[in-house]
Symmetry: C2
Subunit: 223 residues, 2 copies
């Protein structure tokens, strides 16, 4: 039923392999909530596109994008220009019996919209907490909060999650009928983001042990 939701626009309609497209909120939100990094695309004044990785968080139907990494974004995006935010989880390699039918398993979301800068300090602080909570739940409550000057030095953009689509490929290869007889192994090599053991900072007091939200960190959070 979920996949009966129509696309919000022609521009976000999945054209190649349309069966892989999904347009319902639940599917789009689940991918956004699991990812840690997005790729933000914008076009600079000389019409050169840029694609910059950064962190983000979803707040209802808005995406907050952390702009500190990208001084280049700052000038370009303050004016409220069109962006594309893409979140991709790469779930595996798909090995078919023909070169042509090889594929990838993945879950991705593409959001088209206009990014606006969050300038109100209280709103910006709330957005930064959302980003922190998204990346590492409970961290914000333990650390030193940003000073007013630190908030000023950080840029947060808001992008509405209105014109968006998900694209998902799962499962094994789909071969041409006549290729199934070929004596070649076929299947999937799944890939997963593995969270490794935390490494304490060299200057950390050894009496301070990592909290459970660090030792039990995982994605997706609801595993």
């Amino acid at each position: 039923m979920a996949d009966q939701q129509p696309p919000a626009s022609e521009r976000v309609t999945v054209k190649r392999f349309p069966a892989r497209g999904a347009y319902d909120r639940a599917t789009i939100h689940a991918i956004l909530d699991e990812g840690l990094i997005c790729h933000v695309g914008f076009t600079a004044a000389d019409s050169q596109p840029f694609v910059i990785p950064t962190t983000y968080a979803r707040d209802g139907d808005r995406l907050y994008v952390h702009g500190a990494q990208a001084s280049r974004m700052l000038g370009a995006l303050r004016g409220g220009i069109p962006v594309c935010v893409t979140v991709t989880m790469h779930d595996g390699l798909v090995l078919a019996r023909s070169a042509f039918n090889h594929s990838m398993n993945y879950r991705s979301v593409v959001i088209l919209g206009t990014a606006t800068e969050i300038s109100d300090p209280a709103e910006k602080l709330a957005a930064l907490k959302k980003i922190s909570d998204h990346v590492i739940p409970r961290r914000w409550d333990e650390v030193r909060r940003p000073t007013r000057e630190e908030v000023e030095r950080t840029m947060v953009l808001a992008v509405p999650i209105m014109e968006a689509s998900a694209k998902i490929r799962r499962g094994g290869p789909v071969d041409d009928d006549e290729d199934y007889a070929l004596p070649v192994w076929a299947g999937q090599i799944p890939l997963k983001v593995e969270v490794q053991a935390p490494i304490a900072d060299a200057r950390l007091d050894p009496a301070i042990k990592p909290p459970r939200y660090v030792t039990e960190y995982k994605r997706p959070r609801s595993d």
Copy 2:
């Protein structure tokens, strides 16, 4: 010594945290050779940017980008328009004692350039083999090769790796001096792409066992 290489242009110069920037071929090539997916940014006719994940391979100082996923790219890119290709490896979360100094460990490459379509069938076939060899070495030699029609139905773009930069963050948090006394755990949570056990296709003859390049698959290849 490697990091003494100057940037190819102002546009690819790393401005925020300039010490994280690198412009030498070896650093840029190593990141491109380890990654599996790139994000291609281009600007559509209505000035809307798009960012699309796809596979790629490096061939010397050229990047081949697989265009099959993106029918939308096809029309936009055939004419030879400016693109940005970004490859990001997300290596971990960096937990500082202040919210502001939290960071990510990552290795990324940004390439600016003009994408041109490879139209010569033999050249396109060679580029497709490069992409296959990049993603799964030795696979190409075992599977059914593309027919002439399959080659025609696939789009491969070439982007020169000339105007490019790498950006790398490694290691633990860097806190403000006065924050080191705070009684809060600080350090890194490393992330790694884990290759899981291969899953045979449901229609595979059980007598066909996975080859070593599948059972021993890993990234980076030279581990």
